[in-house]
Subunit: 508 residues, 2 copies
């Protein structure tokens, strides 16, 4: 937990907590779990190649079709048929390890198999909390989200969500990039909504962080999620985004959203074949634009709820698709993203269930980036601040598990066991006294008081208690030390871009 | 889900759910996760043997000390010092695979490495639900708990909890055994509270199920949890229970409850050394009573919350101890129990978090029996009916994951992908129509409606919705077909035992 939050927590406690774990750089400690045999994984991969070769992908951007056509694809109207050789070449040039750069080098990451990164809720048009209710996202709530994210070093990346709907769409990328640069110091996110917006956002990052060409080329400073329009379609903004980011050496996170039984086959294997085909198509486009362009494999496939028709998360089928997607990612050798998240309307037991199930699914699938890991309600329609706090508790629990327990002679505590008589206790043992303030994770929001005390204190639910926590985190927020300098540096550029009318998003 | 519950769920839905998964017999599909190297595990085991050999265990029952003394232990007053040879011999005779028998053969289990069994909340003096509030356990609520457990085939074992405090203690074992025999048909539980109670309960089971000697010897019909009094003490009822169950060929589930920082060393490794030493002592006693006696290794170690001093569950340290305990169980080759559970006061996000974290910890640790998997609130002080429903959703999710997805050509759905054009949907595809009613897990309690519908329906939390579910399950409950026969068979014996004053529990 970052310094600001630690202060916040201390204010709520009688004694200071000396324990200061650092969750900024994590390695996934778990052996990946499988749901398919190696032969089956090869079969899924091969079937996806057959889809690309024989059925093709509809790509709506002419420039993208041109690039792919010149690289060996067969193009018939909007349909692109990928040869196996092209895909193989793309998988050869796609980097296995990507240096992700942040304003603060402490938040730099090496994005590769084994890495484990978390992000908060993304893509949310709305925001909600128990003080102000559920409402459309605004610049104010977007700033609050950045403050919350800066408060926890287990959240590794800055957001462009909740969507600041009170900022005109042609200026919104300027506002979100400015806020990330001046309020945060973690990995940055830029939406791919057309070349104009992307170029202005990149220019602001270079200007704000005073990056030389060599700095800019030393890694990737921004990333974006690319969603295909399943089944088998890549629309204009997404194809344009792949091209813009690849040319600039910035990372695209390729994410078909294949809802089994709706936009994808109803079977786990079928949904994954479609997901994999669409991901390979997008990865191939990026590599044909610029060999070596940083791309993340990804998937966010789940099932529809048969009762409501809504996307479901944390379900058995979701987890099976996560585990299968991880096998496909390892089959092609690329780092990859999965996601947690919740369809629940509030931060209740269902919300925790869905998010934690999906979180384990992602972690056990060997995902390197777990998106929507904190605060994602209503299948992404809303970022919930109480939900964010509840979910951070889960992320921090996983982060703690990244560190193995000690098992030397001192840790095995033979002498302490000898010291305490049968029926005694270890509270005052020297072994305990030396370690107790560092031994255990200190809960962020959990209340472990007994029923009488809990009732006397108002019988607050976890959701209710989280209101106090997020308010404290926001109150404790301090901007990064160099925020003022960055703000001054980008001010003239922001003024120039704004006067020029910003940049309108590209349409479908 | 059992027939009774399926009917209950259907009543709440517009269309019948054709899907009828069977969760009665599960195999753990996950590769066990580790937190220690093999050398470290050997070191933990060796340190536990040093504890047994040099520091000893206080065993308060003279008969147990006599048995161990005659088997090679050194006995000094209440302290028993175990030789390594004795422990090795016990681990040689302890069975690797145990046949667990139930009234209904469908609920028989082969308890061995690879098996996966779940039980509901155990050991709870209180019960709570949103209709009747929190109150001391009673026979009425105990019967309700049996009805709930019978409603879900993912819960594999009948309880002796919530404790029916309105039945005098000397007759309580008769009432709980009668209720299990006449209301349920799953694996049975008998508390080890003295030879008199245990013998009467076993007699009722043999009489009720009309078991011949050969039937009785064909497996184990009842089991009990044996908690050591950490650190390093086995009290009179527990030692007596080990002897009584071993002599009768019934299973003891050995479970030191080592709270790191309180009754155990503050380190994960130290708590596990103590847990392992105490478990080995109890297993050795059972094997010295009767070589081959069915015993389960087990552990339920966690940490104390540094703020409240309460036991904590689902914490990082708890999970590390689960994973380490699994390594120790595999080191000695025995099936073993772990537990989920919650310290939360209600079925809120914290309650879900704690239970699901501990559930994953147990499953990933390769546990064969996950106790307290549904309904365990307040660290076991209360069984919550809403919590039970929320937790069953998690158990059923894990149970679904025990089945791998199909990956044949039909499942990979190439033809369906070919059939649906880019931008189309799979709702009406033949591939979907043939499978949609069987494809996905049907949630028990999750509400995936959108925010408008959810609000219009009353904005109910998962906990609130669960009230309707458990009431329906109880309303739908039907006793097993042969309940009447069993009741008639045991009536005379029950009358005789009752007239004789039942059996008083043995004291510490």
């Amino acid at each position: 937990m970052a310094e600001v939050t630690r202060r916040g927590r201390n204010a709520r406690q009688t004694a200071p907590v000396a324990r200061r774990p650092n969750y900024a750089n994590l390695r996934n400690p778990f052996t990946p779990q499988t749901v398919f045999s190696e032969d089956e994984v090869a079969g899924l991969h091969d079937t996806a190649l057959r889809v690309l070769e024989n059925l093709g992908i509809s790509i709506l951007l002419p420039e993208a079709r041109d690039i792919l056509g010149k690289s060996g694809a067969t193009v018939v109207e909007d349909m692109v048929f990928f040869s196996r050789d092209m895909v193989a070449e793309a998988l050869r040039t796609a980097p296995r390890s990507i240096r992700l750069r942040a304003a603060n080098p402490e938040f730099d990451q090496t994005y590769e198999p084994g890495a484990l990164l978390f992000t908060a809720a993304g893509g949310c048009p709305n925001v909600s909390d128990r003080i102000r209710g559920r409402r459309p996202g605004s610049m104010d709530s977007f700033r609050d989200a950045i403050k919350l994210i800066q408060g926890f070093d287990v959240v590794h990346k800055l957001p462009v969500s909740p969507e600041p709907q009170d900022i005109p769409i042609h200026l919104r990328h300027l506002a979100t990039t400015e806020a990330q640069l001046t309020m945060g110091d973690k990995l940055m996110t830029v939406y791919a909504r057309g070349t104009g917006q992307v170029e202005q956002a990149f220019a602001l990052i270079r200007e704000g962080l005073a990056l030389s060409d060599a700095d800019w080329d030393s890694g990737t400073w921004a990333s974006t999620v690319i969603n295909s329009n399943s089944p088998r379609r890549l629309d204009i903004p997404m194809a344009q985004g792949i091209i813009d980011f690849a040319r600039a050496g910035q990372m695209t996170i390729i994410t078909p959203f294949c809802l089994a039984g709706a936009m994808a086959p109803v079977t786990v294997a079928g949904a994954l074949v479609l997901q994999h085909a669409e991901a390979l198509a997008a990865i191939t486009l990026a590599q044909m634009v610029r060999p070596g362009a940083p791309v993340s494999y990804g998937g966010f496939s789940s099932n529809v709820d048969m009762k409501s028709g809504s996307p479901a998360f944390g379900t058995p089928e979701h987890l099976k698709m996560q585990l299968g997607a991880g096998q496909l990612a390892r089959h092609i050798g690329l780092p990859w993203r999965s996601a947690a998240g919740s369809a629940s309307n509030i931060a209740d037991a269902q919300g925790a269930h869905e998010n934690i199930m999906g979180l384990w699914g992602a972690v056990l699938a060997g995902a390197n980036l777990v998106i929507h890991g904190a605060g994602w309600l209503e299948g992404g329609l809303t970022m919930g601040f109480e939900k964010f706090i509840c979910d951070v508790e889960a992320l921090q629990t996983i982060a703690e598990l990244c560190k193995r327990p000690e098992a030397d002679a001192a840790a095995m505590a033979y002498d302490a066991i000898a010291e305490v008589p049968p029926g005694g206790h270890f509270f005052a043992a020297a072994h305990t006294m030396e370690r107790f303030d560092q031994a255990f994770y200190a809960p962020l929001n959990a209340d472990l008081t007994n029923h009488g005390t809990w009732t006397a204190n108002g019988a607050h639910t976890a959701e209710e208690r989280a209101t106090e926590v997020w308010q404290q985190v926001i109150a404790d927020y301090r901007p990064p030390a160099n925020a003022g300098d960055i703000g001054e540096r980008i001010a003239p550029m922001l003024e120039r871009f704004t006067k020029a009318g910003g940049a309108h998003p590209v349409s479908d």
